[in-house]
Symmetry: C2
Subunit: 323 residues, 2 copies
């Protein structure tokens, strides 16, 4: 592969964002943010045979998904996606075409949010590694931190839980050609972060959001710890697709509680602001479900799962046990 | 390795930059830039046995150097370094101590410029990969682009050329314990980007800067192409340490013209502003040498090397040939 030609082939012909002063083609990119906006930035790395495999994803999906994971971080901060940079480690057995497909997957996903590719690095190595840095903007003071949960808040989640994990399960099996199965495999391969929903909530003074990248058990615990509150979840309220309910309870639990990468959001909001969340859900065609509430009990920051009149502690790992 | 414990061990206890709203510990970091400033950002990846080897560098050097390469990009844009994020792919044979040394190298280098570590990712893989994203600030409109060279400009470089390549040569040999040799090996292992010098030039309306990461042949050609000008370099003016001159001419040339990673700067500036450059050099204790001039001849964007009354074309690769 000719590195210069390859870089040329992935360099955009035009940029969409007006705050960009200099994109690809110098020592660094330059952005002039509008006043009143903060910059939100995150980085995420995916490694072949660790985070994905060509057995369950095409190169296009890899690109779509790695950028999606990053966009989801921007959504979870309530910010508007704007830019991304891609650093890629390329093993010699990957073809130019496969690599271009990765970039096409990213580019298609970026287009949905008018994001621009503004930089990157292309190096060789013995294992494919894709590292994406993203940038978004949020009005001053409106970033949605994990530490923003307060006593009395409603806890909600977007979409359905466990879809992506179940999709991966199907991809490892034989029977994923049915229409129903395709919904789930697509949720794994082409995840859609909740950007528009989160943007619609920018009017709220306070809101806590976290994206569900490692399963609700992990993310709810992060919120509880950062906000120093108890989170109480009602298992029967968790939005789970019927298809998953046909499986043994333990298997379901693994997908729903620990199966990450749905890139849905968990949030907490004051009861008085719940109608605003419902409006945002409605206008962006997002399913939002109330799944619990926030309680303050001294310094306790556990997550509790209520089911069949029992209250159990939900650990980060998804492990559930009695008090 | 316990990932959470490791991340805890590298998370800073405090932050230095006042524009930081949220550092490590949420879905993303949040920065509120001062008004009148643009954000400059770049990403750089280093792979074990491709960009570095434990045969010639200690883990501490790897960290110091990978951040240095990024800081050099910020310097080449004339910006003030502020933040960095680190994504690392860790093979199982790397020990916790070695990894901590990489981060200590970065942290020590970051401290010199009051930079804060504000995010990252830690994943496993079969080859060590370190990807660093940096952020700096520059006054509006003062970023130092490659396209800023103009006819009549003086071309200058900082420091000496070929030091790092010669240092690597010594590291592969046996005799690098002498005091003299240590200067060169240090230039390779612990490069010092020209941040303060570039900052001192922020008062200039126009200035072209490029960091010499791939050798002056490559970087001068980048400037010539981006600015659509001829660049004329005088070989006899290039700052070369005496130690290198003891080697055959071809070997010298390789180090001086193509030996990158010196992280010195090449720049072009209007003749009337040359005293400002000299003042900045003096006040920051930086060696600056005039090495040529910029000429405009139609659409020609070649780089010429003048030596022994001959004018030859200097290609990106360092290859020199007659017209």
């Amino acid at each position: 592969m000719d590195e210069f030609k390859f870089i040329e082939s992935i360099t955009p012909n035009y940029y969409r964002q007006s705050s960009l002063m200099k994109g690809i083609g110098d020592d660094a990119a330059v952005v002039r943010p509008e006043s009143g906006l903060e910059i939100v930035t995150a980085v995420d790395t995916m490694v072949e045979d660790v985070h994905f495999s060509l057995k369950t994803m095409k190169p296009y999906h890899i690109g779509y998904r790695v950028l999606g994971a990053n966009i989801s971080d921007l959504a979870a901060m309530g910010s508007n996606p704007a830019y991304y940079m891609v650093s890629i480690v390329i093993p010699s057995h990957w073809s130019d075409n496969q690599l271009k497909e990765i970039y096409r997957g990213m580019s298609d996903h970026a287009k949905k949010y008018r994001m621009d590719l503004i930089g990157g690095d292309t190096v060789s190595g013995n294992q494919l590694v894709v590292t994406v840095t993203v940038f978004g903007f949020v009005p001053n003071g409106r970033s949605r931190l994990r530490s923003h949960a307060r006593e009395g808040d409603i806890v909600f989640v977007t979409g359905h839980l466990g879809d992506s994990a179940y999709g991966l399960h199907l991809l490892f099996g034989e029977k994923y050609s049915s229409d129903g199965a395709q919904y789930f495999t697509k949720r794994h391969q082409l995840p859609e972060p909740r950007v528009h929903f989160a943007e619609k909530l920018q009017m709220l003074n306070r809101l806590c959001l976290n994206d569900i990248s490692d399963g609700i058990a992990s993310e709810a615990n992060e919120v509880a710890e950062a906000s120093n509150v108890e989170i109480h979840l009602d298992y029967h309220l968790l939005p789970i697709r019927d298809e998953l309910k046909e499986f043994p309870f333990d298997q379901q639990n693994e997908w729903v509680l620990s199966g990450g990468e749905d890139f849905e959001l968990i949030g907490t909001v004051a009861e008085k602001d719940w109608p605003v969340v419902q409006d945002a859900a409605h206008s962006t065609n997002t399913k939002v479900t109330k799944v619990g509430y926030v309680k303050k009990e001294g310094q306790n920051s556990q997550v509790y799962l209520h089911a069949q009149q029992e209250k159990q502690i939900l650990r980060k790992t998804g492990y559930v046990h009695k008090q």
